[in-house]
C-alpha cells in the first residue's frame, strides 16, 4: 500500500511568540550573565535568543542596532541626520576626549539614531536612544536630530515612534542641552497639531530632561516591564522631601497604576502592538494610510 494521500494542506500561519531556534549552547565555557532579578546565570546565546530578556521576565538593556533587528522589517530602516554631531560648545574639560572614546566603544556617533522604517509593513519615523552612548544623555545633537525627525514626519505626514532611554540632559553641554527640551517639545507640538500620531516606548532608564520633554509627550505611552522612569533620582527626592517613598516608586508598573503610562509591553509583543497602533492611527493622506 502506498502512502495515504491528502489532497489539501491547512496552510495555517505560524504562531507568533517565543524563540525560533535553539540557543546555541554547544560551548560549555560560554560567557554567562547573572540576572539581577532572579540571580540565575544565563548563557549569553540563550539571553539573546530571547531578545535579551531573562526567562524570569527581567529586561536587560538593549543597544539600538539590536533593537532595530527585532523591531523593524528587515532592510527597511533608512537612517537620517547621522551627520548631526555634538560639538563642545562650552569647552568642557575632557568632553571632546570622552566623545571620541564613546564613539569608538559604542560604534555610534550620538546617543540617538533617527530614520524611517517599516514595522510589519507600517511606515513610520523612528528614533531609538542608545544606552551605551553616555547613557543616552541629551545634548544638542540629540535634540537636533529628534527635532528634525519630527519636522520630516510633519512634512511627510508620518507617525513617529520613539524608544527612550536616557540619564537626562548632557551636563557637559550645560544650558545648550537644557534648551533641547523646549526645542523638541515645540517640534512635537507642531507634529501633534497637524493631527499626526506619536508613540513613545519608555525603556530602562528614562529620566531627567528627556522624561520632562519628549518622552512623556506621546499620544500613547508604552513602557518596558520594570523600567525606571522619573525626573529626579529617588534618593534626591527622599533627601529633599524627607519622606519615605512608596514601594516600587519610579518603576513602569508604578507609573501605570498612577496613569502616566498606558500599557506595559514586553519586548516579545512590541513589534506586533506597535504595528497595530500605527495602523489604527495612521494619518489620512500620509504614506502609511
Amino acid at each position: 500500500m502506498p502512502f495515504l494521500e491528502f489532497l489539501f494542506q491547512p496552510k495555517n500561519e505560524l504562531e507568533q511568540g517565543g524563540r525560533s531556534a535553539a540557543p546555541v549552547q554547544s560551548d560549555e565555557r560560554e560567557p554567562e550573565k547573572t540576572c539581577p532579578n532572579c540571580h540565575n546565570a544565563i548563557p549569553l546565546s540563550r539571553l539573546w535568543a530571547g531578545l535579551n530578556v531573562c526567562p524570569c521576565g527581567y529586561h536587560f538593556r538593549m543597544g539600538v542596532r539590536a533593537r532595530l533587528r527585532y523591531l523593524v522589517d528587515k532592510g527597511s530602516f533608512c537612517e537620517m541626520f547621522s551627520d548631526v554631531r555634538s560639538g563642545d560648545p562650552l569647552g568642557f574639560p575632557g568632553y571632546a576626549d570622552k566623545l571620541e572614546t564613546t564613539r569608538t566603544s559604542s560604534r555610534e556617533d550620538e546617543a540617538v539614531i533617527c530614520g524611517t522604517a517599516e514595522i510589519l509593513g507600517q511606515e513610520c519615523c523612528l528614533f531609538l536612544m542608545e544606552p551605551y552612548f553616555m547613557m543616552g544623555s541629551m545634548g544638542t545633537a540629540v535634540g537636533e536630530r529628534i527635532t528634525r525627525l519630527f519636522e520630516y514626519a510633519l512634512a511627510h505626514r508620518l507617525s513617529v515612534v520613539g524608544f527612550t532611554v536616557s540619564g537626562g540632559a548632557r551636563m557637559q553641554e550645560g544650558l545648550y542641552s537644557l534648551m533641547q527640551m523646549a526645542k523638541t517639545s515645540g517640534a512635537v507640538k507642531r507634529h501633534a497639531d497637524a493631527g499626526l500620531f506619536y508613540l513613545t516606548v519608555l525603556t530602562d532608564p528614562t529620566t531627567g530632561g528627556v522624561t520632562a520633554s519628549f518622552a512623556m509627550e506621546g499620544d500613547i505611552i508604552l513602557a518596558e516591564p520594570g523600567a525606571t522612569v522619573g525626573f529626579a533620582g529617588a534618593r534626591v527626592i527622599e533627601q529633599t522631601t524627607r519622606k519615605a517613598l512608596p514601594k516600587g516608586f519610579q518603576t513602569a508598573e508604578f507609573l501605570l497604576e498612577h496613569g502616566f503610562v498606558d500599557a506595559i509591553v514586553p519586548r516579545s509583543r512590541q513589534r506586533e502592538l506597535i504595528a497595530r497602533l500605527l495602523k489604527t492611527h495612521a494619518a489620512e493622506g500620509g504614506a502609511s494610510a
Partner: protein, 435 residues
C-alpha cells in the same frame, strides 16, 4: 516559534503531535521504520524519512539517525513523544549540542529526576512525602538491617528500573535473603545497573497522578489529577479525571504541594507527578514523569487546554497565558486504551463520533499492526458533565468502535466499565488482580 519540528516517535502519539503542529502552522518531519512504511504519521507529515529496520533499537531508539534526519531536514526542534527516547538524557544532550531544541526538560534535570535517590533529595523540604525507603543499598547486611526498621511488606526496587520492571515484593527477611543476589544479577543485566533500594509497600492503593505545566519564567499550573488505578501488571487500561477517590480538599492540598515542588525543582514543560493514595487517605509520592503521558487527553478534555501545543510553546520560551485560578475543571473525562491482542492487518475501521467523543489512533484501513512495537493502537476519550454520563458515553462509544482483522481488548474494557467497582468509583489497584 519553531517553523519546523521533527517527531521522533510513531503511532497515535506521532499523529497527535503532527496535528498540533499543523494547527500551529509548524512544518512537520516524520521518521519511520521499514515496518511503518505506510503509517499514518509518515503520510501526514510534510516530510518523512526512513530511519532503519523494524526493530526499535535500529530505528526509533537510534538517536544518531533521528538527529541526522533533523539536521538534513532543517528541523529546529525534536518532539520525542512518550516512550522511545523521551526520557533519554543522553539524546537530549546530543540534540542541544547540535543546536536543536529537545522538547522536554533540561538533560541534567532529567537525569536527576530519573534517579530515584536524587529525586527524593529534590523534593525534600516540600510538602510531598516520598514513600518511606532506603537509599541505594551496599549489600545484603545493610538491606536486612534497614528492612527491619521499615517493617515488612517491602518492595525491592532497581534504581534504574521503571514501567513496572525490576520490582520484587518481599513479605519477610527470609524472602529478602533468598532473592537478594538474584535481584542484583538481574538488574545488572537488564538495566546495566545493579543498584537496589527498599521501599515501603503501600497497598492497597489508588494510582493518582498530577499533571503540571510550567514555563521558563517559573510560572507553574497544576491541571488536576488522573486516576490510573485500572492496571494490569503495571499497564494502565482506563484513566479518568477527576478521580472519584480524591476529595476537593485533598485535591487542593495536592495541587499546592505539587506546584510548590515543581517551582523548587525549576522544571519547564509538561510533567506528571505520580502518587499512591492509601486507605488512610495519605498521598505517597512515587516519581515524576518528565514527558507527555499516554493519558494526557483526559486532562485536555477536562481543562480544554491543548497540552501538546503548550509543551511546544513552553519549549520555545513562550510564557503561560493563564494562572491556576483561570483553569476550569468541571465535569468528568475518561480514557480507554485500545490494545491489539495480536498482530494483524486492519480490514474495516469504524470510529465512533458525537459530542465530546475523541479517538486518537494511527489506524487506517489496510495498515498492518506489527509485533515490533507497543500494542496500543488507539485511545478512546470522552467528556461529560457528570461521571455517570461519562461512563455511559464511553460504553456507547466502545460498542460503536469496529476494528476488523485485529483482535482487541474492547470486550474486556466494556466488562470493566460495567462492573460494580468501576461504576461506583470505589476501586483501587487491586481491581484487576486475578483477572
Amino acid at each position: 516559534m519553531f517553523s519546523k519540528i521533527l517527531i521522533a516517535n510513531r503511532g497515535e502519539i506521532a499523529v497527535r503531535i503532527i496535528r498540533a503542529c499543523k494547527e500551529m502552522g509548524i512544518a512537520t518531519v516524520a521518521v519511520y521504520s521499514e515496518a511503518d512504511r505506510d503509517a499514518l504519521h509518515a503520510a501526514l507529515a510534510d516530510e518523512s524519512y526512513c530511519i532503519g529496520p523494524a526493530a526499535a533499537e535500529d530505528s526509533y531508539l537510534c538517536g544518531e539517525r533521528i538527529l541526522s534526519a533533523a539536521l538534513i531536514s532543517g528541523a529546529q526542534a525534536i518532539h520525542p513523544g512518550y516512550g522511545f527516547l523521551s526520557e533519554n538524557a543522553r539524546f537530549a544532550r546530543e540534540c542541544i549540542r547540535n543546536g536543536i531544541v529537545f522538547i522536554g526538560p533540561d538533560p541534567e534535570l532529567m537525569e536527576r529526576l530519573g534517579d530515584k535517590t536524587e529525586m527524593k533529595k529534590l523534593v525534600e523540604g516540600t510538602s510531598l512525602r516520598p514513600i518511606p525507603g532506603t537509599g541505594v543499598l551496599s549489600g545484603l547486611e545493610e538491606a536486612l538491617e534497614k528492612a527491619e526498621k521499615l517493617g515488612y511488606p517491602l518492595m525491592l526496587k532497581a534504581r534504574s528500573g521503571g514501567g513496572g520492571r525490576g520490582i520484587r515484593l518481599l513479605q519477610s527477611a527470609e524472602e529478602l535473603r533468598q532473592t537478594w543476589s538474584l535481584a542484583v544479577a538481574e538488574c545488572a543485566s537488564a538495566f546495566g545497573d545493579g543498584a537496589l533500594y527498599l521501599e515501603k509497600y503501600v497497598w492497597p492503593a489508588r494510582h493518582i497522578e498530577m499533571q503540571i505545566l510550567a514555563d521558563e519564567g517559573g510560572n507553574v499550573v497544576c491541571l488536576g489529577e488522573r486516576d490510573c488505578s485500572v492496571q494490569r501488571r503495571h499497564q494502565k487500561l482506563i484513566e479518568e479525571s477527576p478521580s472519584p477517590g480524591v476529595s476537593p480538599a485533598q485535591r487542593a492540598a495536592l495541587t499546592q504541594g505539587v506546584t510548590e515542588a515543581v517551582k523548587k525543582i525549576g522544571y519547564t514543560g509538561v510533567g506528571t507527578m505520580e502518587f499512591l493514595l492509601d486507605k488512610a487517605g495519605d498521598f505517597w509520592f512515587m516519581e515524576m514523569n518528565v514527558r507527555l503521558q499516554v493519558e494526557h487527553p483526559v486532562t485536555e478534555m477536562l481543562t480544554m487546554l491543548d497540552l501538546v501545543k503548550w509543551q511546544i510553546r513552553t519549549a520555545a520560551g513562550v510564557p503561560l497565558r493563564f494562572t491556576q485560578e483561570q483553569i476550569v475543571m468541571a465535569g468528568s473525562a475518561m480514557e480507554c486504551r485500545i490494545n491489539a491482542l495480536a498482530p494483524g492487518k486492519l480490514g474495516m475501521l469504524h470510529v465512533p463520533g458525537g459530542h465530546f467523543v475523541r479517538f486518537d489512533t494511527y489506524l487506517v484501513p489496510g495498515v498492518e499492526v506489527s509485533p515490533y512495537y507497543d500494542p496500543l493502537i488507539g485511545k478512546l476519550i470522552v467528556y461529560a458533565r457528570s461521571r455517570e454520563e461519562a461512563v455511559r458515553k464511553l460504553k456507547a462509544a466502545l460498542c460503536e468502535l469496529v476494528i476488523e482483522g485485529i483482535p482487541t481488548n474492547i470486550g474486556e474494557q466494556l466488562r470493566i466499565l460495567s462492573g460494580e467497582p468501576f461504576m461506583s468509583g470505589n476501586y483501587d489497584l487491586t481491581l484487576m488482580e486475578g483477572r
